[in-house]
């Protein structure tokens, strides 16, 4: 066993491990590391899927599908950055929207790295971030908040939202842009 392997093995038995270490172990077939990643992120994956689908059994299916994908294929952009939590949250949302629309995956995020401003593998930081983001979302104008929710969690296009809200498509796009810009400012502060 090489020094690196020994270090990884030792790391696998530590209480707190970063995502990169766990992913390296998962790539080598370490089931305990996979269980650690599951315990770290299953709740957010399930919660996002449940928010989109409003159906516990379907949300559970998304969780299973996503984590089995992670088990079989760790060579994705998140592997090189500490962005697994962000990737999983977004992948859960996209898979749920695909399931909602009963269409095949468009796999946008598989080709692109994510640039979250936080280390989501740290539970304390993750909880603090979620709280700050909730406050930031609450601070958005109610109409913007509703539009962003309709686009992100309901998967409605800006044209569909415009029809529902009786507004123009360009106004909806502007609202989405301003909401995201506001959230970005908050997350980088």
């Amino acid at each position: 066993m090489t020094t690196r392997e020994t270090a990884l093995q030792q790391a696998s038995h530590q209480e707190v491990r970063d995502d990169t270490t766990l992913l390296t172990l998962v790539r080598r077939g370490d089931e305990a590391a996979m269980a650690s990643l599951y315990d770290r992120y299953a709740a957010i994956v399930y919660s996002v899927a449940l928010r989109v689908l409003h159906h516990p059994a379907s949300a559970s299916d998304i969780v299973e599908e996503l984590f089995m994908e992670l088990w079989h294929d760790t060579d994705r952009p998140f592997a090189s950055r500490n962005s697994l939590g962000a990737w999983l949250a977004l992948a859960a949302r996209n898979k749920s929207i695909d399931a909602l629309r009963r269409r095949g995956s468009r796999t946008t995020i598989d080709r692109v790295s994510l640039a979250p401003p936080y280390d989501l593998s740290n539970e304390t930081e993750r909880t603090a971030l979620a709280e700050r983001m909730r406050i930031a979302v609450t601070a958005l104008p109610p109409v913007h908040r509703k539009i962003l929710g309709m686009a992100f969690f309901d998967g409605l296009t800006h044209s569909e939202i415009a029809e529902i809200t009786n507004d123009t498509a360009s106004a909806i796009k502007l609202a989405i842009y301003q909401s995201l810009a506001s959230l970005r400012r908050e997350s980088h502060e």
């Binding site: 089931e31 984590f67 088990w71 692109v112 296009t157 997350s187």
Partner: protein, 310 residues
């Protein structure tokens, strides 16, 4: 949508949310693949969206899903790539002059005869091939001792490796068992807290129509809105066809659509339960109902209602 040089952030945001029409989606994907500027902005946007995703109310993933995933992980072992092994390098002994000889001096013995696999020309001329050179017995002994020691180490290493794997597997199993017991204990505690919670609402559900049923089914729900905790017990239920399932519904008091609260199958005696399904918190319930749905359940109730109570 600007396509002259770079896409606007909002168009990339719609792309990231997969909200563009199929053709538009492919066009942006093709552009982004070759544009570092848009690629970087897209990465930031996806980071922003991921942050937004984290604003959802967090529900624990059902313990059964964890068990299912980890069982599949154990069953679907990964095929690890075999790392290339460097070919063994020939051993070259230095010549008396200090320079390495051009041919290897490695010797071996077969059936009592001593052979020179390859020797330098000088040695071939000065030594008798049938007669061992002085000190060669000792050298052979050390050579064999070396091989025996190496073989011993190899066997010990294999045994250690096997033992380590066995211990690792044992530890993993024990850890999983402890985790399961902890989850069971937490689940039991939550059930107890739900039942004894002073805010708990107790709802009796009765059959809406008993015409097609052999016995009148009935149910009882205990619901704590502030915690989204629900326990439901039913009896007298008819057995269903294999492709059908009972589904429990929470009908919110604020007029929203019914929320699915879990699917279930009755046992041979017609008893069934739904224990602590994942429900959003702070939803005041106007009523509960039970319907029969296809397969894994539905996202909206299908009439007729079998049991109802408010």
């Amino acid at each position: 949508m600007s396509v002259s040089s770079h896409y606007e952030s909002v168009d990339l945001a719609l792309f990231a949310m997969q909200l563009l029409q199929s053709e538009g989606h492919e066009t942006v994907a093709a552009h982004v693949a070759g544009c570092p500027f848009c690629l970087e902005e897209l990465a930031y946007l996806q980071g922003d969206l991921a942050m937004f995703a984290h604003t959802v109310e967090v529900h624990p993933s059902p313990a059964a899903v964890r068990e299912r995933v980890l069982r599949r992980v154990a069953r679907e072992k990964k095929v690890l790539p075999v790392e290339p092994v460097e070919p063994a390098r020939p051993m070259i002994e230095p010549t008396p002059g200090g320079e390495p000889s051009e041919e290897p001096l490695l010797t071996f013995t077969t059936r009592g005869r001593h052979h020179a696999a390859a020797q330098s020309k000088h040695q071939l001329e000065t030594s008798d091939p049938q007669r061992p050179a002085p000190g060669s017995s000792l050298r052979k002994l050390f050579l064999w001792l070396g091989w025996i020691t190496a073989a011993g180490f190899a066997v010990a290493a294999v045994r250690l490796h096997q033992e380590r794997d066995r211990y690792s597997a044992g530890i993993s199993l024990q850890a999983a068992e402890i985790e399961r017991l902890k989850e069971d204990a937490a689940g039991s505690k939550q059930v107890l807290e739900t039942i004894t919670n002073p805010e708990a609402r107790h709802i009796q559900l009765s059959a809406v129509s008993t015409e097609s049923l052999q016995t009148a089914p009935q149910g009882r729900a205990i619901y704590v809105p502030s915690k989204g905790a629900l326990i439901f017990l039913a009896n007298g239920l008819d057995r269903l066809q294999p492709d059908k399932t009972y589904e429990l519904w929470l009908i919110p008091a604020d007029g929203r659509d019914p929320i699915p609260a879990g699917t279930f199958y009755p046992d041979a005696q017609g008893n069934a339960s739904v224990i602590l399904p994942s429900l959003p918190r702070a939803i005041e319930a106007k009523a509960f109902g039970v319907t029969i749905e296809d397969g894994k359940g539905s996202q909206s109730p299908t009439l007729p209602i079998i049991l109802a109570g408010s």
